[in-house]
Structure formats: structure tokens, C-alpha cells
């Protein structure tokens, strides 16, 4: 009796679940009325291969709105999709059958071993599991080696910024130390599991403690970690505090919004001027849209240049200032080992010094079509994964030339083309 209870309960539970699932049909949207004009339009929009590229927030919002309107419409003339419910019944049937088969197979196995009696002994599971652990150790270590070998080429190339070189150094030191500990401890674990598995005549030793050992393996990690901390602390302070206080730097602003980036260059005066979020997307005198909320009453803002591309001068300490229009974003520049959140209302910054131009870096790593990339690394909405810009590093003189050929966002009479790189 009790043997058939289990599958019955299971099938009841599954049945319940799938009944609910079918009932859900009536709540879920179906997108299935071809004669519905709105639906067709909607389909067209998503068919467009461009849809994956970050849309402007307004586009996105419009799209959303139209989708919601559409859902409402569809709700009105939805019907239970019988094909679909059949599908769920089928699946639940298959699952139940599988469970029953599994159960029967197990019972059969048990029965067989009972019939043949003492001749078929139960396999030695202790030995089996012990061997499995040992085998796992070798396969595991082997697989890691293999991974390292095939994925080495995918890891980031050498650091393209100065501070990044010391980050890489401490990373590899940590890698070596933890790698050593990893191999030794995993090996001990699995070898112990293999070696001391239950055996006839084996007894465990009674060894509840050894204070000397405890002290030993408290102090060794403590010393190693202290060294890592000291070393890491210095690099951290250099990267964040010392660099931020550099005497000479050049400012560029990264402005993040759903879902893209704008870059502001300081113009001839070398200063990034004031901004005010309330001015976002207002129209500037002269007709351009104030996409990044410049406050042009500040002369330092009035000559600022706003671009869609990030161009950095090589060999100069660049102070990247970050701002966000709407939600949290993070500027992630993996090739430069740089990352900082863009926080609405709280300006942040990251200082770095590019070591190579894009061209130089391409030939260093032997990849003629390589590009530095800027990514968003803090969940910010639907197109978070596509919030990308390429970064170009050029020689200082090329940078200066490029800068002076650019026009500021706001063009007033006194703005002339006398842009020059001004270091502070």
C-alpha cells in the first residue's frame, strides 16, 4: 500500500501545479492575434536587428508604453490556449512516468539482489566513493590546468594604465599564494577521504586537539595576509589617493545615462564647468540639446566640448570625473584596471595614466583590430548589457589637434577655436 502512495502524491502535486499553470494562461499575455494592427507593429519593432543596440530612454519608454497598451488589448480578446495546456499535461505525464519507471527499476534492483541472495554482495560503497574522491582530485586539477591553458589567451592583456601594472602584480602574487594553498588543501582533503575510508579493522585515532598546531595555522595565514594587506594597501592608496592628488592632471567627464555614455572635454580653459541636472535636455541658445545638463552661465561650462567618443591622451594623468543622469551606473574600463560608480547626486572620480596609444597596444598584443572598451558594470536597466563605448588612446599632440578642431556644445560669439590641452 505504502509503495504506491508516493507516486500518487507526486502526481497529485504535479497535477495541481500544471492545473495552476494552465489557469495562468488566462493571465499571461499571448501576442497571438495576427489581425491586430498594434501587434504587427510591435513585431516589426522587435524584429529590427537594431533593437539590441541601446535605445534612447524616450524610445525605450515609448516602446514599453506601447507594449503595455498592447497587453491590455490582448487581455480583452485572449482565450485559453489549448495547445499549450495539452503540452503541460504531456510534460507532467512524462515526468510521472519517469518517476514510476525509476521507482520500479530501483525496486527491481533490490529484488534481484534479494533473489540471488548471498552470492551478489552489495558493492563496497566506501571503496567506490573513496576512489571517486581520488579520481575527482586528479580530474579537477587536470581540468583547471586545461582551463588555464585554453583560456590564457582570453584573459585581459597587460595593463594599459600605469597603476594597473601594480594591480596586476599584486593579483599574480595573490594568485600564486592562494593557488599553492588551494592545491595543497584540496589534495589533502581528497587524499584523506580516499585513504581513511572505512575499512575492516581500521580504527580512528582519538586526537581531539593540539594547541601548538592551532597556533601554527593561525599565525601562518595571519602573517601571509598581513603582508598581502600591507602591499595591497599601498597600491590602493597610490591608485586612489595619491593619483587623485596629482599635481598635474587633465580632466574628462564620463556622463552615464540609460543606456549610453557622453564624454565632456574641458575646452580651452582646461576646466569642466558647473552642471545642473534640472537643465537636462533643455534647448541651448543656438539650438543644440543640452544632453548633459551644462550650466552655461558658468563660463567654464560654456566652452566644454561634448562627444560620444572617449579619447584619452597617452602619458598624461587623466582625471575621469563621473556623473549619472538617472540611476546608478559604473564606468568599467577593464583594460585600464579602472572602475568607479556613477552616482546621481554624488560626483565620483578615477585617475589613470594611459601608457600606450591604441595603435601601440594593438601591435604589442598582436591584434590589429583590438579596441579598448568602456562598459557599464552596475545593473541599470534593460539594455545594461549593451551600454558600450570604444576608447581611443592617442598621442598627446594628436589629442591636442583633435581637441582644437572640435566645437563646444554651446557656441557663443566669444568661443573661438583656440582649444588647447591645458594641464592643471
Amino acid at each position: 500500500m505504502s509503495k504506491i502512495v508516493a507516486p500518487r502524491i507526486l502526481s497529485m502535486v504535479l497535477g495541481l501545479f500544471f492545473t495552476i499553470a494552465i489557469a495562468q494562461n488566462s493571465f499571461a499575455q499571448t501576442h497571438e492575434s495576427p489581425d491586430n494592427a498594434a501587434a504587427v507593429e510591435h513585431v516589426d519593432e522587435t524584429q529590427n536587428p537594431q533593437w539590441k543596440n541601446a535605445p534612447l530612454p524616450q524610445d525605450l519608454a515609448n516602446k514599453r508604453l506601447s507594449q503595455f497598451a498592447l497587453d491590455k488589448q490582448l487581455d480583452a480578446n485572449k482565450s485559453i490556449d489549448t495547445n499549450n495546456s495539452l503540452f503541460y499535461w504531456l510534460i507532467s505525464l512524462i515526468v510521472i512516468m519517469l518517476l514510476i519507471v525509476l521507482g520500479t527499476a530501483m525496486k527491481l534492483l533490490n529484488g534481484l539482489s534479494k533473489i540471488s541472495g548471498a552470492t551478489t554482495k552489495e558493492p563496497n560503497y566506501d571503496k567506490l566513493n573513496g576512489n571517486m574522491f581520488l579520481a575527482f582530485l586528479f580530474v579537477f586539477m587536470g581540468a583547471i590546468l586545461y582551463e588555464i591553458m585554453i583560456h590564457k589567451q582570453y584573459l585581459l592583456p597587460e595593463s594599459a594604465s600605469k597603476h594597473g601594472q601594480s594591480i596586476d602584480m599584486i593579483l599574480w602574487i595573490t594568485f600564486a599564494l592562494t593557488g599553492f594553498v588551494f592545491v595543497v588543501t584540496q589534495a589533502l582533503l581528497f587524499i584523506f577521504a580516499f585513504k581513511y575510508r572505512q575499512k575492516e579493522g581500521q580504527t580512528a585515532i582519538y586526537y581531539p586537539k593540539n594547541d601548538k598546531l592551532e597556533i601554527l595555522w593561525t599565525t601562518i595565514p595571519a602573517v601571509v595576509l598581513t603582508l598581502l594587506v600591507l602591499f595591497g594597501f599601498r597600491i590602493w592608496v597610490n591608485t586612489t589617493i595619491t593619483n587623485a592628488n596629482a599635481e598635474e592632471y587633465y580632466e574628462i567627464e564620463l556622463y552615464a545615462y540609460q543606456f549610453g555614455w557622453k564624454f565632456r572635454y574641458p575646452g580651452p580653459d582646461g576646466k569642466l564647468g558647473r552642471t545642473d541636472y534640472r537643465l537636462t535636455n533643455t534647448e541651448l541658445p543656438g539650438g543644440t540639446v543640452n544632453a548633459i545638463a551644462l550650466d552655461i552661465t558658468d563660463p567654464a561650462s560654456a566652452d566644454d566640448i561634448v562627444k560620444d567618443e572617449l579619447i584619452l591622451p597617452k602619458g598624461v594623468m587623466v582625471k575621469l570625473r563621473m556623473r549619472s543622469r538617472d540611476v546608478l551606473h559604473a564606468a568599467h574600463l577593464p583594460h585600464f584596471r579602472a572602475q568607479m560608480y556613477c552616482v546621481p547626486g554624488t560626483p565620483t572620480q578615477f585617475n589613470l595614466e594611459p601608457l600606450y596609444t591604441t595603435e601601440e597596444f594593438r601591435s604589442r598584443i598582436n591584434k590589429p583590430d583590438f579596441n579598448f572598451e568602456l562598459a557599464c558594470n552596475q545593473i541599470c536597466g534593460a539594455s545594461h548589457y549593451a551600454m558600450k563605448r570604444e576608447i581611443k588612446v592617442v598621442e598627446l599632440k594628436d589629442y591636442t589637434a583633435w581637441m582644437s578642431s572640435e566645437k563646444p556644445l554651446f557656441t557663443s560669439a566669444e568661443n573661438s577655436n583656440t582649444n588647447q590641452l591645458t594641464l592643471k
Binding site: 521507482g103 566506501d126 567506490l128 592562494t178 586526537y207 586612489t240
Partner: protein, 613 residues
């Protein structure tokens, strides 16, 4: 009940039960259910990660609002990908690994292992479960609303979580998330207060803190962490509710969205939320891990037939971890623009916390050394936990180093780190506990062959899914990306993602072996004796504990929990309830009939106990 012969209705016995063992089972079954929901959500989005733009039309019936019709396929919508990740994280972290794990084993084991008839407040205990239940229901319901569930990540950072215009999931979905979490926090506080007062006040005669099983130590410290940190999450959530619904601006400032500047809501700081969140968040990860470590300690000692090595060091490490876990939260915020000097300080304390973790690992290894290891299902999972704890703990040393965290923050390296050290480890601890204490819960033993299959499939697939993610992270690939198609440095891993998705699906499939085993063993599992693993702690002194646990007097405790293979003792275990006199008299405690606990029934009159009304 049988001991007292008073009958209870079905409802008070199985539904609104105040019996800690029933409540434990309720927590376990709810936890397993939520685990399957969370696991299903992850296979759902792993399909997208493995095969970008894959047709998920077969899910249209239930999850239609997650899909976009692209003409010839129903693909996962990018914002719904984020919704799935968010709900997966929330469900696994809070509903499975906090409530499911702590709720089950604290409830089951605290009274049984300290020799108490029940919890200090059975009524509060019942309330705690039902708050949790309602919270689970709300959380699940939010999966099915039209605009989708909360989508701002399990960390729900505002402004994204505060602005429905930023992502549709931040509308009703987020409201339900907040309501569910508020109930959840209330539930976990009621539970934790109960655990603390029970452990402090109701230990049986002789059971000093120095003789407590490590499970109880870990539940005790976990409960303390919970009572101190969950209220902070509650306040963070309340402030977020105010910002969302009442126009305050604790977290909002200088925002322009959807064509309008939020001029009325300004002056707040999104970083404030992060401080409040991680003040809970970091202790939370230890709230999850410590019970798993406690379970592992007992399971390893029992099945290696050895005392846990360095009991005192183990307790001190747990204490150290508990204290330190309150002052390291800033390591989640190194690159948020926090004062770099403060970041430096957080880095120092963070790396200090690695020391007690290392001590625990070495002690586990020393416990296995020259043991006589019984590979029960529970033991396999306990060994698996140690391996995962090593792998994940070591990557913490990278992330705890602020300098290294600059490029690694929010990449797949972090995903690998916390799935291995927290997700997988704690799940393994939970499985170890379920296999090990199943006999105490259901009177039967789970099928061990299925248990072996379950363990090996799970262990191998966990490493296959999460180990390669370290490489992805070292290459800079960000987490929470719907697709890896846009960036050159991420694109190279597209094939690897297929591999990880396949491993994840196999791993999820393996859990059905467990489910089958769990359900069928209730009915046809091998009948368990009173002490099937020949273990020392008090719960094994009673067969099928009924209402009030011990039919006779509560046993007294005479020794520590780990006297396995003690020289001079004939058997390789020596339970806590056996006194030295018993031993001298030569009681055969291996034989249930001769056990002094049994004998007491005939000697002592049944103690009257208060019925839990």
C-alpha cells in the same frame, strides 16, 4: 502525543502546529519548494546566457510576460532577464538558505540537542513559520504580475529600484518584494529570538556551553547576527518604501528620468542605501554559512568517528567570524566613491576575517586525518562543503584586497566567489543535514544509492558551472549581462557559457533525484533505529520523538559531543547521556533495550509537561 494520549486535530497537528519538529518540517518542505523555484529560474536565464536569443516559446503559457515575440521566436526580454536574476538571488539567499536552512535545522535540533521539550515560545515559533509562508507566497505571486517582479538585482540598489520609469519591475513587483521582505524579516526575528532564549535558558542538566554541539553554537551565533542585522535591512526597506510611495528622498538626488527632472526629490544619497544594505548583507552571508558549517562539523565528526579537531578553536573562529562580520560590509563598496581611506580600513578588517575561516578549514582536514570515514550521504556532502569552502574562501582573498577589487568588482569573478563559498557550500550543508537527520524527522533512512548519484552529479556540475566563471571574471566580463555579444572581451566566452548552461541544467536535473528520494523514502525508506549513525548528541537518545520529545525524564549530559573512538571505550562512540558510572557498570548502549535512557522510563514516573497551547 502518544506519551500523553491527548488528541489533536489535523489542523493543530500539521498546519498550525506549535511543535518544533513539525515546524522544522514545514520550513524544510517550503524551503525545498522555494529551492526548486529558484533553481528553475536559473535554468530559465541560463538558457538565454548559453544560447543568446533562444526560442523559449514553450514557457509562453506561464511566463508569457517574460518573453518578447521577435516574429519567429519568443525570446527572453532583456529587462525580464534582470527580473529572473533578481528573483533567483532573492529566493535562494533569503528563502532557501536563510529560512530553509536555519529554520529547518535550528527548529529541529535546538530542543533535541540541548534536551528541551520544545522552544521557549512555541507560539512565536509557529508565527515565525507562517510569516515566512505568507512572505513566500507574496514573493512567488510577484513572479506572475504583468510588469514583472523586482528587477534591480537581489541587492535592490536605488534609484533603479525606486523608479518604475527606470525598469518596469520597479513598479508593483518591487512593492511586493518589499512587503514580502518586511514579513520575512519579522519572521526571521521571531525565529531568532526564540532560538537565542531557548539556547540560553533551556539546556538540560550538565550541558554547559563547553559541551554544546557545534551545530548549536552556530545556530546561536547565527541567531544573534540575525537579530542585530535584519532590523537594519528593515529600516533600509522602510526608507525605500517612503521614497517610492511618499515622495521622500532618502536615496534620491539629482535625477532626470523619462523626460523630467525629479526636482521634488533631491538631496538624498544612493550610497546610504548600500551602507544599510550591506550592514545586513555581509552578516547575512554568514547567517547563511554558519549553520552549514555547524552541521558539517557534527556530520564530519560523527562519520569520521573522531572528535572534531580543536573544538575550542572551532568555537573561537565562529565567535571571531561573528564579531568581524559586522565591520567588513564596506568591502562590497570599494569602488562606489566611498572615501578611499575608509576603503583601506575595510580592506584590513576583511582580510582578518579570512584567518578564522582558514583555521576552520585546517581543523576539518585534521579531523579527517586518520579517521575511519563512513561515506554516508551526509558525509559526502560535508566533504563537498569543505572543498567548496576552500575554493570560495580563497577567492575572497582576491576580492577583499581593495586594489584587486577595482578590476574585479561586479564581474563574474564575484559571481564565482559567492556561488561557490555561499551558494553551493550552504546548499551542501543543507543536504548534509537533510540526509543526516532525515531519520529523526521521518523515522526512515533515505536511499543511499540515489544519494550517491545525487551527490556526485551535484558536486561535479557545481564546479563545472562556477569554476570557469573565475576566468570570465579575470577577463573583466560583468555580471548581470543579458548577452555577451556587445563587447570584444566578453564575446570570447560565448562557447564557455554554453558549457556552463549545460552543466547547470544537469545540476538542476540531479535535484529531482533528491526530490524523488526525499518523497519516496518517507514511505518506503529503510526503517531507522534510534541511533542509525551511532552518534553522540542528545537527539539520538530518543526514538521518533513525540510531543515533548522524551517520553520519560530528559536525559542529563555528562560529556562533550565528540567522544568518538575514545581509548578505553569498547565502542567507537560514547553518547553525551552516558555517565561514567554507566560506563563502569558496562551498559551496552549500542543495544537500544539496555540504554539507560530507555531504562528511565520504567524507573521514573512520566514527568508532566506543559502542553503547548
Amino acid at each position: 502525543m502518544s506519551a500523553h494520549g491527548h488528541s489533536e486535530s489535523f489542523i493543530s497537528k500539521y498546519i498550525f502546529s506549535q511543535d518544533h519538529k513539525t515546524i522544522a518540517k514545514q520550513y524544510l518542505i517550503t524551503g525545498i519548494f522555494m529551492g526548486f523555484v529558484g533553481g528553475f529560474l536559473s535554468t530559465f536565464f541560463r538558457l538565454q546566457l548559453g544560447w543568446d536569443g533562444i526560442d523559449l516559446g514553450f514557457l509562453k503559457g506561464v511566463f508569457g510576460n517574460y518573453l518578447t515575440d521577435t516574429g519567429d521566436a519568443y525570446t527572453l526580454a532583456p529587462d525580464k532577464y534582470l527580473a529572473l536574476v533578481t528573483m533567483h538571488g532573492t529566493i535562494i539567499v533569503f528563502f532557501v538558505l536563510t529560512a530553509g536552512l536555519s529554520g529547518t535545522f535550528s527548529n529541529l535540533l535546538i530542543p533535541l540537542q540541548i534536551g528541551a521539550r520544545d522552544m521557549a515560545s512555541p507560539f512565536l515559533n509557529m508565527l515565525s513559520y507562517w510569516f515566512f509562508f505568507v512572505s513566500s507566497v507574496i514573493m512567488i505571486c510577484s513572479l506572475f504580475i504583468e510588469t514583472g517582479p523586482a528587477s534591480a538585482g537581489w541587492t535592490v540598489y536605488p534609484p533603479l529600484s525606486a523608479l518604475p520609469k527606470a525598469i518596469p519591475g520597479s513598479g508593483l513587483g518591487m512593492t511586493l518584494w518589499l512587503v514580502a521582505m518586511a514579513l520575512f524579516i519579522a519572521s526571521s526575528l521571531m525565529g531568532a529570538l526564540n532560538y537565542i532564549s531557548t539556547i540560553l535558558n533551556m539546556r538540560t542538566k550538565g550541558l554547559s556551553f563547553k559541551k554544546l554541539p557545534l551545530t548549536i553554537w552556530s545556530f546561536f551565533l547565527t541567531a544573534i547576527l540575525g537579530t542585530l542585522s535584519f532590523p537594519v535591512l528593515l529600516s533600509a526597506a522602510l526608507l525605500l518604501i517612503f521614497d517610492r510611495s511618499f515622495g521622500t528622498s532618502f536615496y534620491l538626488s539629482d535625477i532626470y528620468i523619462d523626460g523630467a527632472a525629479l526636482t521634488a526629490q533631491t538631496g538624498g544619497s544612493p550610497i546610504l542605501f548600500q551602507h544599510l544594505f550591506w550592514f545586513l548583507g555581509h552578516p547575512e552571508v554568514y547567517i547563511i554559512l554558519m549553520p552549514a558549517l555547524g552541521i558539517t562539523s557534527e556530520v564530519i565528526a560523527t562519520n569520521a568517528r573522531k572528535p572534531i579537531f580543536g573544538y575550542h578553536a572551532m568555537v573561537i573562529s565562529l565567535l571571531g567570524i561573528s564579531v568581524l562580520s559586522f565591520i567588513v560590509w564596506g568591502h562590497h563598496m570599494f569602488v562606489t566613491g566611498m572615501n578611499p581611506f575608509l576603503g583601506g580600513v575595510f580592506m584590513i578588517v576583511t582580510l582578518i576575517i579570512a584567518i578564522p575561516s582558514a583555521v576552520k578549514t585546517f581543523n576539518y582536514l585534521a579531523t579527517l586525518w586518520r579517521g575511519n570515514i563512513h561515506f554516508t550521504n551526509g558525509m559526502l556532502f560535508a566533504i563537498g562543503l569543505v572543498s567548496l569552502f576552500i575554493s570560495g574562501g580563497l577567492t575572497g582573498i582576491f576580492l577583499g584586497n581593495a586594489a584587486i577589487d577595482i578590476p574585479l568588482h561586479n564581474t563574474y569573478f564575484v559571481v564565482a566567489h559567492f556561488h561557490i563559498v555561499m551558494g553551493a557550500s550552504a546548499i551542501f550543508g543543507m543536504f548534509a543535514g537533510v540526509y543526516h537527520w532525515y531519520p529523526k524527522m521521518f523515522g526512515r533512512i533515505m536511499n543511499k544509492k540515489l544519494g550517491y548519484i545525487h551527490f556526485w552529479l551535484t558536486f561535479i556540475s557545481v564546479y563545472c558551472v562556477f569554476f570557469p566563471q573565475h576566468f570570465q571574471g579575470l577577463a573583466g566580463v560583468p555580471r548581470r549581462y543579458y548577452a555577451f555579444t556587445e563587447f570584444e572581451f566578453a564575446e570570447v566566452f560565448i562557447d564557455l557559457n554554453k558549457f556552463m548552461s549545460i552543466a547547470a541544467i544537469i545540476g538542476f536535473g540531479a535535484q529531482f533525484v533528491f526530490l524523488y528520494n526525499f518523497v519516496t523514502s518517507m514511505f518506503n525508506g529503510k526503517k531507522a533505529g534510534r541511533n542509525p549513525w551511532k552518534a553522540n548528541t542528545l537527539e539520538w537518545s530518543v526514538e521518533n520523538p513525540g510531543h515533548g520529545n522524551w517520553p520519560a525524564a530528559i536525559p542529563e549530559v555528562f560529556r562533550g559531543p565528540h567522544e568518538y573512538s575514545k581509548p578505553g571505550v569498547a565502542l567507537d562512540y560514547l553518547p553525551q547521556w552516558i555517565s561514567d558510572e554507566d560506563l563502569e557498570r558496562g551498559v551496552d548502549y549500542d543495544n537500544e533495550a539496555h540504554d539507560p535512557v530507555k531504562k528511565e522510563i520504567t524507573v521514573k514516573p512520566t514527568e508532566t509537561i506543559k502542553e503547548g497551547e
